[in-house]
């Protein structure tokens, strides 16, 4: 391994037909970092994350996950790498035919190196960790509220004690209180489990409270990369609009002054 970077993307290009989504993106994520990936809708944030886990292949460039190049990786190695990643999909992507308990237990059962007697305890602990009581365990995803779906999905993403966590808009669709609680949960978990995370978000509060650094995707490139508080100094119009706009001022203003 060249460095302690969990993810390294070098000169990544993505094209869908004639539509160029990413142009020469170079980005690395260090161990323990919580990187906020920010950009307008349709700027290819989710695609970039899918390329990081090897769900999609970039048109050009190379991606390394845990130091392994994803373009010439064997299926078995990739599966092992993915066991070390947890993904929270935007809509939760809970298995709709399973109860919450079965959803969280599923990765643990599939991992096959955990005694079945432990799984029950672990599932209830995971649910407690994300703030869900044991009474929720028997519900089907369709019976849950939006916030509960997110939390159950986070519990499932955390099931295999991932070293790397991908969160796709974790607070979208949550009320401010629920979003704040969710961020607190993530902060506590990060302190405890020391995972690395890539968070796709539009939520300025989340960027300020949770992310240790931000990468801003605009005009098909990473236009800014650095700590959340440094962003206001960046001259790019998108960054200016985002962080010096009315809402940006409200969230980050207090920090700057």
């Amino acid at each position: 391994m060249t460095s302690d970077n969990i993810i390294e993307m070098e000169h990544v290009f993505t094209r869908f037909g004639r539509n160029v989504v990413h142009e020469d993106i170079t980005l690395s994520v260090a161990r323990g970092e919580i990187l906020g990936l920010v950009g307008g809708s349709g700027s290819g944030k989710t695609t970039l994350v899918r390329e990081m886990i090897g769900l999609d292949q970039p048109s050009a460039g190379r991606v390394r996950l845990f130091g392994e190049p994803l373009d010439k990786i064997e299926a078995e190695t990739l599966a092992t790498l993915r066991n070390r990643c947890g993904v929270l999909f935007q809509g939760g992507a809970l298995f709709s035919a399973f109860t919450v308990f079965e959803n969280v237990a599923f990765p643990l059962q599939e991992y096959r190196a955990i005694e079945p007697t432990l799984i029950r305890d672990l599932v209830y602990m995971k649910l407690a960790q994300v703030g869900l009581g044991p009474e929720v365990a028997a519900y089907l995803p369709a019976e849950l509220s939006g916030g509960m779906v997110k939390r159950a999905a986070l519990a499932r993403a955390l099931a295999l004690e991932p070293e790397l966590l991908f969160l796709d808009e974790p607070t979208s669709g949550l009320d401010p209180v629920a979003a704040q609680t969710f961020v607190h949960h993530l902060q506590d978990l990060h302190k405890e489990l020391q995972f690395t995370a890539v968070v796709i978000t539009h939520d300025l509060d989340l960027m300020r409270d949770l992310c240790t650094s931000l990468a801003i995707l605009a005009d098909r490139r990473i236009v800014a990369r650095g700590a959340p508080t440094e962003m206001a100094l960046n001259p790019h119009p998108f960054v200016q609009a985002m962080f010096l706009g009315e809402r940006g001022q409200r969230v980050f203003g207090a920090m700057a002054s």
């Binding site: 391994m1 190196a113 432990l118 369709a142």
Partner: protein, 378 residues
Amino acid sequence: MATAGHVEPAGYHTRRDERGRTVVVLTGQWTLRGIDGNADALASALREHARDNDKVVWDCREVRGLDNVGALVLWRLQGFAQGHAIEVRPEHAALCERWARREPPPEGGRSPGVRPLAVLSSLGQGLRSHALEFTTLIGCVVVDGGRLLRRPDQIPWKDISASIYEAGVRALGITALVGALVGIVMSYLSSLELRNFGAPSYIVNVLGLSIMRELGPLLAAILVAGRSGSAMAAELGVMRLTEELDALSAMGISRIVRLVLPNIVALAVALPLLVVWTDAIALFGGMVAAHITLGIDIPEFVHAIPSAVPVVDFVLGIVKGAVFGVVIALIACHFGLRIKPNTRSLGVETTNAVVTGISAVIFVDAVFAIGFRGIGLP
């Protein structure tokens, strides 16, 4: 933290401290990957030491990572949880704290087992709800259909036309293939028998009557029930999953008018046409086969059809097609609207739609056969 690639297995060793107590020093990664299936072995080895917990010190300062799996293995040892001398790294304190004060998870509810009476009663309830919902659906279709007839500007022509294309035009290929093959098979089989009787020209009567009255409509209907029945049910089901049905209702648009009626009208129109098409192709297949086996000329065969098959049989086949179409669409929509927002229900109800659709087609065909036994048969 451990480096990415390398995993150090969980382990421990013991020593005596200056006060004569046993110190159990945990080493390695007490994590999911560090323990890797050895939880039971580690636990039983540690349990030996945990027995006399007054004299044991648990030293966790040398572990290179502790996660919930590791913590759970340790906390399942009675002595560990109650032993007062535990030394942990500061970053693991919160995790240990949480496991120390966790509440035991509730007992899982046991499934009550199979009780015959309960099975019967749920079966009865299922049938009752099906009957109720199906009747309601028919009622809604009649009422909304009647309203549309008075307000023809609201008829969803586009949906109907799209549905006809999907269920009718795109089924031309498969009905032609199956029709031709069945025609050939019928022709070959009956030609053997007819030659024995010395009446080869009766092949026209045998093929004409059986295909136009029975086989054509039935084949077309079964193929359409499989193709369109599943498609219609699944479409409605996915619309339930994605809340599109609710979106329609919220706009004040009737799902019966926009989703169910177009399917019914489309199949009522398309299936009779498919019946004619299947009849023609099946007769053509039979004709070619008859030419090969019995040497009957094709023009001769074509000329003989009108006198061999009464018009009423042909018409009856077409009417049957229309009725089958309505039945298939109603059943598909009935099961489609019953789909609950989860993937398993989607699969189950789509299968039900096809199986029930085909069974209903054959049942209705039997009713026709009995009801019209005096009509059209020579």
